[in-house]
């Protein structure tokens, strides 16, 4: 039972982490919010949190399945969760609306502040 | 250079990268497998390590072979690099 719960936690963490990353991108945030309101997202903090959540999946997997199976499992869950996020954005973008609202509240800035040169944004 | 024709150039390029690249890699793999036991590795392990590295080396050679500008220089480097380890191996015996 403990193994299953840890595994589920890993999946949830990684899905949310990738969703968080996606929502830090203009195009996906707009699609989820179904509005064209310009929003200054380019938030390094938001992406850092997303990456941390994804990485936290690794100890969960290892605690659930042991060292070598756990790390292999995490490595194979990466594409699975990322693709789940991509397909959610494609066909059921509104499912991520609560997450988008939370991101906006946590990372809202004035519109002029997004001077980021990160590769995530044009 | 108007000779050789573009199609021949492509054929020479592919032959160089794929076949020439394989021969080049196989040559260095053989040398590596022969030298590693001298460094203390069990000879079966030496063969395994050299063979596994061979795939990575061959990948790099392929990428390089398809991006190098001069076809002539490519053939020269591949030919020379294939012969050199074989020479060393022959001298070792």
């Amino acid at each position: 039972m403990r193994e299953v719960l840890l595994l589920l936690s890993a999946c949830v963490l990684m899905f949310l982490g990738f969703a968080w990353l996606a929502l830090s991108q203009q195009r996906h945030a707009e699609r989820v919010a179904a509005s064209n309101r310009s929003r200054a997202l380019a938030s390094r903090a938001q992406r850092a949190i997303g990456l941390v959540a994804i990485t936290l999946g690794l100890p969960c997997c290892m605690a659930s399945q042991g060292g070598s199976f756990g790390s292999l499992l995490w490595a194979m869950l990466l594409p699975a969760c990322a693709m789940a996020v991509a397909f959610t954005l494609t066909w059921r973008a509104h499912w991520l609306r609560p997450l988008a609202r939370a991101a906006e509240k946590a990372f809202s800035r004035s519109a002029s502040a997004s001077a980021s040169f990160s590769p995530f944004e044009r | 250079m108007s000779w050789p024709s573009p199609r021949t150039r492509v054929a020479l390029r592919v032959a160089a990268a794929v076949i020439g690249g394989y021969a080049w890699t196989a040559s260095w793999v053989a040398l590596l497998a022969a030298l590693l036991p001298a460094a203390g590795m069990a000879r079966s392990d030496a063969v395994v390590l050299a063979a596994m590295l061979g795939f990575v080396i061959y990948l790099l050679v392929l990428l390089w072979g398809f991006s190098m500008r001069s076809l002539a220089r490519l053939w020269a480097v591949l030919a020379g690099g294939t012969v050199l380890p074989l020479l060393v191996l022959w001298l070792m015996r």
């Binding site: 990353l21 070598s68 869950l77 594409p79 | 053989a30 063969v47 063979a51 398809f66």
Partner: protein
Amino acid sequence: MEPTFRKSMACLHTWAGVVIGSLLFVIFWMGTLSVFDREIDRWMTPSTRLPAAVAQQRFSFDAAARAAQPLVQGSPQWFVRPPSQRVPAVELRWRSESTKAFERRYLHPQTGALLEHTDTLAGTGFIFPFHFGLHIKWKNVGYWLAGLAGMAMMVLVVSGVVIHRKIFIDFFLFRPKKQLQRASLDLHNLTGVLALPFHFMIALSGLVIFMNIYWPSAMHGPYAREAKPEDAFFAEAYGSYKRAKAGAPAATASASLDAMASTARREWNGGEPFFVRVWHPGDANSYVEMRRSYENAVTMNVDTLSFDATTGAVLSWHTAAPVMGVQRFISGLHFIQFRHWTLRWLYFAAGLAGCVMIGTGFLFWLEARRTSHAKKGLPGVRMVEALTVFSVPGIIAATLVFFSVNRLLPLDAALAGYDRSELEVWAFYLFWLAALAHAALRGRRAWHEQTWAVAALAVTAVVLNWITTGQHLGHTLGHGLWAVAGMDLLLLVGAGVAALSARHLTRKARTFQTGIAQDPQFPAPAQPGNKASHA
């Protein structure tokens, strides 16, 4: 080659993709199916569809050996695998004296009775070997083609990354409603980038498995002074122990295999013997080879014990040397013989992603060049299209025909000197060839026509299973026959996906043919020279 490295890689990616893509898809498709090769075996050999509980009973090697005796008489070697979760019956194989080929039969794990024999190669005998050798044994050409494909895969992955300039921006992007060229490229990038580590790892690990075939030069340096360099290497690396037969019959009856198995368990700290082979049975020099189960680790160990058959004394004990251990771990990453259902399903999904990646790559290339080739009268698109339909929906349909024919042929079927298993394989190749002819004749329409065929054939296979065995989904799910239920379910889901894809392709083809943008979402059809911006 080209002015910049990126342009060279773009040229390389396109050309390698077009030339090797068909071969790659075939290998990826058969490989993805091989994840569930033993489950396919259960579906194709109904007599082995035993409930899991049966496999869990205590197994006796001696009892299995006694049950095997009438079958393996006179054979130079025979081996047995105890029942496992994925193979609930006892698998017995022996080398036939007359044909020199290996025979396989299944025994009931408790009674030792011979289960009804379905003469079929099934998943482990046809699908899996197709994946690594293309069933071309002449001069190992099949292995070399697979090796070429594996190297090409890695080249394609690296070059794909180099040319994908907006790799992070496009990370989660998929727009199925856009015109086919754009949608295909989106999906190609998605399945390629998100599963990138998998694609690279699966190609490299597959090559590493056959390192001996691909780098024969490595062996001859350190083993130059041996009489038989290859044998010496295999003995030292893989622990293959050999002892020639004496030619004289054994003095006493052979020792207990179960006792040897207990010794093995002790030596391996609880590791179970999953493979027991008797060499030269009945001979004075007969010996027993035992190998250790792969179920509990990623690494495919080479732990081997050899016992003298008469006395039970240990003749040879082998475990992997350090570097060989790494090779066994890498091999294990590819073979996935471990017992872990979540991982198995994830590998299956990643394999399918790879198939989608290759297929959408072709679709993109075809759509991007369709108008320009038509204008210039170039045959490229027509040829590649025929080859693509042949290698993508074509081979999927042929595989489904293989499954269906397995259910249709009577147990004693034979024709023109071909036995039942060969007839199944003939059906596969003949249908596949017909798919090529159909693709060549029908051009662009062949895409959705063959995809509809896939949907129809998948449903047919499920129905045939029901008709011929009576074990429909309700029965298999209710009785814990998970392998069969899983296969039927995947066939039905696959049929659904194929139907949806066929509809999507039909709609796109019609819109293109009318030449008018019916759907306001569609921009004007691609102009010649207007390559979609991925570089």
